[in-house]
Point group: C2
Chain length 218, copies 2
């Protein structure tokens, strides 16, 4: 029986691989998501990427050199790519007139916290209810070289999602920053934080989600 | 001329005091706001208190002992009092199963960041637009004695605003925390952060807002 079951699972897996080759879902290989509908919370990587790409503001935390090293959160807008083509890496448009950019220049340690609540898909759940997802990406907040291809990508990502940024005062000297992610804290259902590595987050295997449907017993 | 103007200002001030005595706006004396409409951003204290009392979730930031002292933000629900009777002090209902409470027990330094955006009064402005208000209350995140009058007030404040908290699992051992505010960062219009002391925030002089109307040249 076990051998038959294994054989069935193997066949289904091969079938799913063939199907995906024909469907040509290349964007998932590049670590970009095509789907806009809310993924199954069990697929932590896909769910986390959906949460980041659908949202467009969060709280960016740095270490305050003005306030004795206190953790200092600031409301910021961000973008991780063009709509429905997020890269998973959040980019920001910050001025050193605001403390967050100043703090980050002195100490890169940072985190970005995002809630599912503003997206409007939490139903009547309280924002602190674990089934209303929340994510904290922790890492280093660094300046992006203004002449790089990455800056070009980030400008396009930011200005498409936040058109008014293009009109912000030139003399405020806004610059592009990004969060180099080192750790991910995700709560998207009951039972505590979901284990999720940065590599899994940056390369979400959508095929696994679909394969799991194909692999379900008939 | 200057003497006449001073005399006019003095008379108007006395008149306003008499008026307020008759009106009996006692809650403002206790540092509680009666108004629910958005105050004039020029009145930093009233505007800040409105922002905190109208909102009911934010990002609570602590120092992560798991992640090399990185600033760690977490989506939390809060309440500063019964609806339209906020005390200005945010209370939380946290479990040590979640990292924020654990981190706070090791290092009290903390901040709570709140945006006007979810209230829905920013119009078409981007969440990072300075005219869409944001506030960061920095201080110490401390446990509230469960048998104190303060805990009784906090429970009432939290459970009224977040009724589902009453149903949260008993074995998760949720406890009441509060933020002892030491510094306030408020952006509620163009021109940089508004100067606002903790004392001004905790005792907003609504009378000044109204008095300023009375003191306007006829």
């Amino acid at each position: 029986m076990e051998s038959k079951a294994k054989s069935f699972v193997h066949c289904s897996y091969v079938l799913s691989l063939v199907l995906f080759s024909f469907l040509g879902i290349q964007d998932s290989v590049q670590g970009r998501l095509l789907a806009v509908s809310k993924p199954d919370p069990k697929n932590a990587a896909a769910h986390a990427r959906w949460l980041v790409s659908q949202n467009y503001w969060g709280v960016l935390n740095t270490i305050s050199s003005d306030l004795g090293g206190a953790p200092f959160g600031n409301v910021v807008s961000f973008s991780d790519g063009l709509p429905n083509k997020g890269s998973g890496i959040p980019f920001f448009y910050l001025t050193a007139l605001d403390p967050t950019a100043r703090y980050a220049m002195k100490d890169h340690r940072s985190s970005l916290t995002i809630s599912e609540y503003p997206i409007g898909t939490c139903g009547k759940r309280d924002p602190e209810n674990p089934a209303c997802a929340k994510i904290t990406l922790t890492g280093k907040l660094v300046l992006v070289d203004n002449n790089s291809k990455e800056a070009e990508f980030a400008r396009s990502a930011l200005f498409t999602k936040h058109p008014e940024m293009m009109e912000w005062p030139k003399d405020h000297n806004f610059k592009i920053f990004k969060l180099e992610i080192e750790d991910i804290f995700l709560i998207n259902w009951f039972g505590g934080a979901k284990p999720l590595t940065v590599d899994q987050y940056l390369h979400p295997k959508i095929r696994n989600q679909l394969a799991s449907i194909l692999l379900k017993p008939l």
